[in-house]
Amino acid sequence: MQEGRVLPARQINRDLLGSILYSPRWFWGAVAVLGLIVMGGFAAAGLMINQGMGVTGLNRPVMWGFFIVNFVFWIGISHAGVMLSAILRLSKAEWRRPATRAAEVLTVFSLMTAMLMPLIHTGRPWRLVYWIYTIPFIPYDFARGIWPNIRSPLVWDPSAVYTYLTSSILFVLVALIPDLAVLRDRTTGLPHKIYTVLAMGWQGNPRQWKLQIIAGVLLSALILPVFVSVHSIVSWDFGMAIAVKPWHSTIFAPYFVVGAVHSGVSAVAFVMIILRWIYGWQDYIRHEHIDALGRLLIVVATGWFYFFVMEVIFGFYGREADEIAFRDFQINQPPWNLWFIFFVGLTYFLPVAMWLASSWRRNLWLMSIACISVNIGMWLERFLIIIPALAEKQLFTFTWYTYAPSAVEITIVAATFALVSMLMLLFARVLPLIPLYDVKEGDILKTEIQIGRRTVPATFRED
């Protein structure tokens, strides 16, 4: 560890604010391309609203398709923020410093994107207006005497996701205040005025720093239980659905949470590699950081694999007809069985095999492939949980139908990936994606100690 050199504060400012103060030439081109894809997604959603849900591949009994798969996927990605930021902050892991902000911001944008999915899936997103304009921010339609059924997991879900989203946004904003002060001091004109207002008169005195440090720890401790609850509740959207028996699994909650962390941390590792490449942050996002993430991912992936195997075994041991029919779809019937092999291989065996060797973990190309592999696999996992369970023949179902996504659904799903990428780029244009004060603090605390004839790097750590 500690492969980096101590850099002067002026250089840290110049390097990490470079994405804001000097916009690279490719930036607006990249934003335009991503924006076009997002517009394509909005056009597809508009077509769906205009023509009706018939333009999707949804039909009885598969009423949840790509949109809900994608919803669960993006909720999963959002778990990276708290996993890295909160757990590593609480455990005082030194290598967290360049990763926390990107992880938290990825959390916010992926949660926002995830929340678009059920709205689009309803087919009548304008009904949101009923919620918003009755009482601001309270989704209760008092005026029409309509009350949500709080016994439904579909009401628990938004309550958890909005709690997580609000908390994550506030977490990011509080940690941004010191960096906003740096921006205030480095800008002129209108940007200076905006950053001055946002920095709220931050000076950097010991009281402010003390509270900033406590805030990081305290908010981490408070958000952690929310983070666990969010994906648990998302899993209960399935686990507590009365009609679909293959989803009745008691270990769905921890299985979903660990899976979310797996995909989320992989996504953060990939985002960090991309940031290092496009902004030239080699001094900040170093091989040691990616290596540490790779080692962490071996543990997370193996934890996920354990839950996955348990879920399959418990399913078979129950010998219930619905469960056996569901597993038959996954394991015996094409094309599901082919997807199933891809899913297990891409989520666990391929990436873990790559992460076992230190030299592979430090190879950024191979790490990128492994991280993308995990996320393709985790997307497939959600697909293979949702679709085959709904597609199996059920009692009183007069239509027996399978599912193939339409071009509208594929376009909207592709647009969500472009949307998150575009939002990350735009964030990097106005605010620093690596916390400057955190990097500077790391440099202040760095030292070297003599042990026998060796001089080894060390870090001062305060309890």
Partner: protein, 169 residues
């Protein structure tokens, strides 16, 4: 006599700490000077006073408010639309616990944020004497003293190794 600020800028944390010691020896009250940095230093690095706060009260108060809101919202919702499902009681505790938990955590976190901003004495409408070099790694020692003490403090800061001294215009 009017109190005026004076800001000494130091390149080295040790010199800034020595300036703090010198100000203490010169009987300048601890409340009248502060150390401004661009990154958190270990507590007591400059020999500064211990900062007391009541931040921990905020999440507790927030959690209690959220708990109350959660219980009221979930119970009143169920009573306002008393639809019996599967012969189960109208007031169902497990779902109430889920929504109440989320509202408790949400308000605890919102109150924590309010607490952080409040206890950090933010927002400040007037920033006071400041220098942008502080966010370039310089350590600022900001002293608020009466006008007739300004020269004495200037000398103390200079002798401690300040590379520049900024005064209120």
């Amino acid at each position: 006599m009017a109190v005026r600020p004076i800001l000494g800028l130091f390149e080295d944390a040790n010199y800034a700490a020595e300036a703090g010691d010198a100000l203490k020896e010169a009987n300048i009250p601890e409340e009248d000077y502060d150390f401004l940095t661009d990154a958190p230093y270990p507590e007591g690095a400059f020999g500064e006073r211990e900062e007391r706060h009541r931040l921990y009260v905020f999440p507790l108060v927030g959690a209690l408010i959220g708990l109350t809101i959660g219980i009221l919202m979930t119970s009143m919702t169920q009573m306002a639309y008393p639809m019996v499902q599967g012969g189960k009681p109208i007031m169902s505790l497990p779902p109430m616990a889920v929504v109440t938990y989320e509202s408790t955590m949400l308000t605890a976190i919102v109150f924590t944020i309010i607490g952080i901003v409040f206890e950090s004495r933010l927002p400040k409408t007037k920033q006071g004497l400041y220098d942008t070099r502080i966010t370039e790694g310089y350590i600022g020692v900001l002293v608020n003293v009466e006008e007739d003490e300004l020269q004495r403090v200037y000398n103390i800061l200079t002798q401690a190794g300040a590379v520049d001294i900024v005064r209120d215009q």
